[in-house]
Amino acid sequence: MDILIQTIGDIINADLGSPLAAFIALLLVSLAILGFMSLTAGGLSFIERRVAGRMQSRIGPNRVGPQGILQFMADGLKCAQKEDLIPDGADRLLFKLAPVLCFIGVFGTFAVLPWGNGFFASELNVGLLYLMSVTSLVVIGMLMAGWSSNNKWSLLGGMRSAAQMVSYEIPVALSLLPVILLCGSLSFKELIGAQGAMPWDWNILNSPFTFISFFIFFLAALAEGNRTPFDIPEGESELVAGYCTEYSGLRFVFFFFAEWANLYVIGAVAAAVFLGGGHLPFGLESDIVSLLVFFAKSFFMVFIIIWLRWTLPRFRVDQMMTLCWKTLIPLSFVMLFGQAITLLIYHELTFLQSIVSLVLFAICVLVGVKFVSRVLVNIKEQKYKMMHTLTGS
């Protein structure tokens, strides 16, 4: 039974058998999710701007509220006050529908997204499949927005986004397949349940193939979510704002809402499918703790996405397609095949799995250490440069 719905049903003390009570319970759940989604999207917009600021040696928004944390509310309010323009010659119906579709595409994923180990809005046995199908609504929304605006930039942006997102859905799905093979299920509950608490029990470190699959998934999901370095559908410098050029006011907010919420969705899926969900070792696990651990993992992934955005330049359109069709898709087929064989081998030699996982873990630690040392060197260098080139002394 759907756990969150059940909980709320208990709270309002109603019998979920009656249609009215079920309706009310569903409404409450969706409102709760909507609240969570808006807070996440708003909070992420703030975090993103602050992180971006610091990465560019600026401060970022820091005026509204303590340290600028209420900036997203001010922005939302500002947009709500703006005139709701529909350009002349636009297809009014499609124009109005497009942001809603984009929003629904992302909002729908929250129905199956896990919130820790035991929390789901609804426990669907084909959760992953549902998630991937419902996100394709976003493509339609963007294409619609681009088409209906009657503007060349919008149309170009819409076309690009259609090409990009349709292409990148393939590697996303393919790169999830090795893990599905491994766990034998599409349900988030079982995907999380199949993983352990320690890093080497996570799906990502199961074999080299899942390891690489994780990166393929991550890159492809970035591209599907229109994030830099894959943000060509809205490349500011080329297309003004891409498919949402003509949008203003709240409709515009809907697009960005969807985009930022999508960040969290990518992070949460990565955390649930590859990074061990909300498990904690040493018997520390409880419902609330798993919730926190899960959020921590998801937001860490989100941080990485933000960090990537402010590091890497944008791809060219043809490079993007090359990356997808010539690199990611063949690679993910190889990973699927390799994982299938690995599973057979693991079946015969069970001890091999823990050895491989531990070796992979050791490699990760080594790369991590190397990375940290590079970061330390760079911090020193930047501090030195700042003191000696800016002040001229």
Binding site: G53, R58, T311, L312, N378, K383
Partner: protein, 217 residues
């Protein structure tokens, strides 16, 4: 081409992304350079040291802010007016009593004229500094001042000559003009007299000559 290049490209992409990520993460731990401008008084080193912990200090000396003119040493040569590419300097001048001035560069010059109007239209000025370079005395300079939003567009014009001074200069200028005219007239008269005297002398001389000629004949 070939499989070797394919993997080489992947490796290059991964390593450069690795390095790039380490650089951008590092900058999270370095203080931002931003000065919170209206909160921190950017013009004073002291205030910057107190309220801001980045590496910047005060305004740089070569900052090109609002223009300032030292009318004491401006010799009204109008070189700046000519140099300005967008004609935002307007100078009118009168003659003054000659005086010796020392320019900002230490050279002394005779000042013979003074502006009675020296206007710079800051709404047009692009702070290029082209007027500063040719000034022979260093009278026109950029200041550090950069806050000049005003409530009225006409206030954007800096008028360097005060109304009182202008009136005085004008009066004195008119006097000098009269004196000059007088001097000129006197000079002209003197010249004329001289010329006449000379003409007379010459006439006499020629007369003498012709007489001499006549005697010869």
């Amino acid at each position: 081409m070939g499989l070797g290049n394919y993997f080489k490209d992947i490796k290059a992409g991964l390593t450069s992304a690795f390095e790039g990520m380490s650089i951008s993460l590092a900058s999270l731990f370095v203080r931002p350079v931003t000065v919170q401008y209206p909160d921190v008084d950017v013009k004073s080193d002291e205030a910057m040291r107190e309220n801001y912990n980045g590496p910047l200090r005060g305004m740089p000396d070569n900052y090109r802010g609002l223009l300032d003119v030292d009318l004491e040493i401006c010799i009204s040569c109008k070189l700046c007016e000519k140099a300005c590419p967008i004609d935002c300097i307007l100078i009118e001048d009168v003659k003054i009593d000659k005086k010796q001035i020392v320019g900002r560069n230490g050279k002394s010059t005779m000042k013979m004229k003074s502006p009675i109007q020296f206007d710079i239209d800051n709404s047009k000025c692009m702070f290029c500094g082209l007027c500063v370079d040719p000034c022979p005395t260093g009278a026109i300079v950029h200041t550090n001042e950069f806050e000049f939003n005003r409530s009225d567009r006409s206030q954007l014009i800096s008028r360097f000559v005060k109304a009182d001074d202008r009136a005085q200069l004008k009066v004195r200028g008119a006097e000098i003009a009269i004196e000059d005219a007088k001097a000129k007239a006197e000079k002209a008269a003197k010249k004329k007299a001289e010329a006449e005297a000379k003409a007379k002398e010459e006439e006499e001389a020629s007369k003498d000559q012709s007489e001499a000629k006549g005697t010869k004949e």
